[in-house]
């Protein structure tokens, strides 16, 4: 279990997170939503073990498998969680296979380990990036790059026999992707998590993607957890209005049978005016 217990992060008098308690279990997909500045990225950084700004002061605890995250050595931490950054960087023209193989760094030390190569190939295949393997990543499109970096994250968390729980942290993974790739990425990540018993913690902006792919949705508002639970229970008009300042109606999704959230600017009367199904996406 990856958990934040009563976490507060302050910069001066401003609270980025305010007494947040939250846990992510292996095998589940927890999606965090919230307006800009709600504290989503700060929370993800805490879970990743990233450095916060020098002036930030943190209270509370972040634990993995009952042990403080910071107490895990760097190399062990790399096997507990992988992070898909919002905008992956790459300074030199490594090939897609080389980038995916970075995911094996925490595990392997060798030059030509056959098992590593098999895992990298399998991870590339799972991320639908096999055909990109020999290409230099700097020449790929944003969507292709995202898949390659996702493959690296898969390769990093591959070992299902690792004695501790493993988590995949996705920081707005769909931001740079077209519609089809948004769905493909989340489907793939969920499949990987289910197959290999990995927990997913993802930041998403699109409430309908959250509704479709989350086992649990957490709404963060001004640094606090406004609501969390099953998508259908949490993503209700009142919560959305409070969390995002928009008017919303929840409908039945004609394709998935789940919920479909129609939103409009808060000044419009819901269901009249110029609102509409603004962020509806189909599978």
């Amino acid at each position: 279990m990856l958990e934040a217990i009563d976490v507060t992060v302050r910069i001066g008098t401003r609270k980025l997170l305010d007494r947040v308690s939250l846990s992510v279990h292996t095998g589940e997909t927890a999606v965090i939503v919230g307006e800009n500045g709600a504290g989503k990225s700060t929370l993800l950084k805490l879970f990743a073990g990233d450095r916060l700004p020098a002036r930030a002061r943190t209270e509370g605890r972040v634990r993995v498998a009952g042990r403080e995250l910071a107490a895990w050595p760097l190399a062990a931490r790399a096997r507990l969680r992988a992070v898909l950054p919002q905008r992956p960087e790459l300074a030199f023209a490594f090939t897609a296979r080389e980038v995916a193989a970075f995911g094996r760094y925490p595990v392997s030390t060798g030059w030509h380990d056959r098992r590593d190569r098999e895992i990298v190939d399998a991870a590339l295949a799972l991320a639908d990036a096999t055909h990109l393997a020999g290409r230099e990543v700097t020449t790929l499109s944003g969507g292709e790059q995202a898949r390659v970096h996702l493959a690296a994250a898969f390769a990093q968390l591959w070992e299902a026999d690792f004695p501790h729980p493993r988590f995949l942290l996705l920081d707005e993974p769909t931001a740079a992707l077209d519609l089809a790739h948004q769905h493909a990425l989340l489907v793939t990540a969920r499949a990987f998590a289910a197959q290999r018993n990995v927990g997913i913690f993802a930041i998403l902006h699109d409430l309908n993607l959250a509704a479709t792919y989350a086992d649990r949705v957490v709404v963060l508002h001004q640094g606090r957890v406004l609501a969390q639970g099953a998508p259908g229970a949490v993503l209700q008009p009142a919560t959305i209005a409070a969390g995002f300042g928009v008017a919303a109606q929840v409908l039945r999704h004609p394709i998935t049978g789940g919920i479909l959230i129609a939103t409009a600017a808060a000044t419009d009367a819901v269901g009249v005016g110029h609102g509409g199904v603004s962020s509806c996406r189909t599978l």
Partner: protein, 356 residues
Amino acid sequence: MTARLAAASRRIPGVAVLVGLTLLLVAVTVLAIGHGAFRIPPADVLRVLVSNTGIDAGDIDARQVAVLNAIRLPRVLLAIVSGAGLAVAGALMQGLFRNPLADPTLIGVSSGGALAAAFVIVLGATWLPGVSKLLGAWTLPLAAFTGALAVTLLVYRIGAAGGFLSLPSVLLAGIALNALAMAGVGLLSYLASDEQLRNLTFWSFGSLGGATWPVLKAVAPLALIATVAGSLLARPLNALALGETQATHIGIDVVAVKRAAILLTALAVGSLVAATGVIGFIGLVAPHAIRLACGPDHRIVLPGAALLGAVLVVLADTLARTLVAPAELPIGILTATLGGPFFLVLLLRRRGQIGL
């Protein structure tokens, strides 16, 4: 499909390049040892080298042995050490700053050496007569080494001021201290007599003319340790291409890598600057050429650059001491003359590939 094959096949296997460069370095070394005012045929070079190890290699001309062992060998060996050290230092800086145009001057190591050298050349005799008398010919190299390390450590300390070694801070501190050091060199040049100015110019363009066994024994261990230890940073430097945060995510101790890369660069370049003055462009060109041929994997780039750098400096030094014989050209002029056009061609033809 064809695009994919083309992209993949553009790279030459790293092992082939390493083997090829090793053979090339051996060949170039034998030729360079034999080349000069007193020519020694390659076969004789090999026989003298063999006889040095104590094996009987038949009749050998005593003059050949004397020239080879006393003059040519230490010089060519210093050229190899310099080329390897400068190239690895360049590759370390490029990997560290994640920029193909980075080089060791960024962390102040060259300008620190230059300032100290200028100080000794211009003011050493008047300000530090006791020290000069005590250290003799070692005054200049020791001062240059100390200056190089001192300025780099200062850059490092400023970069690490926030409790975390921040590369942008290191870069900016390097720029500021480079400017200060260069102002100091400028002031000393202004104060210098004509002869001092000439020494200063010669030093700032580099020369292997000072190569003797004692110099080699003092410099080679430091430079070689830094070169080999630097090559061990290959995997962490690869990871650093992902950025510091993501490198940390895959278990790399980024602060330790940054610290090691900066200190090893200072050690290699500082000791070499002390022995040879400033030799430019090797640190920039050698890693680039390997990256273009074999891709950016530092496990190939670091050793490959070391070999190529050694080949380039051995060649450049051979030209430097023979082109205008019996006079000598400063080697830095040659490396810059060869390196500049190479770099422009690279820039114009392969802009995309070098990440610009």
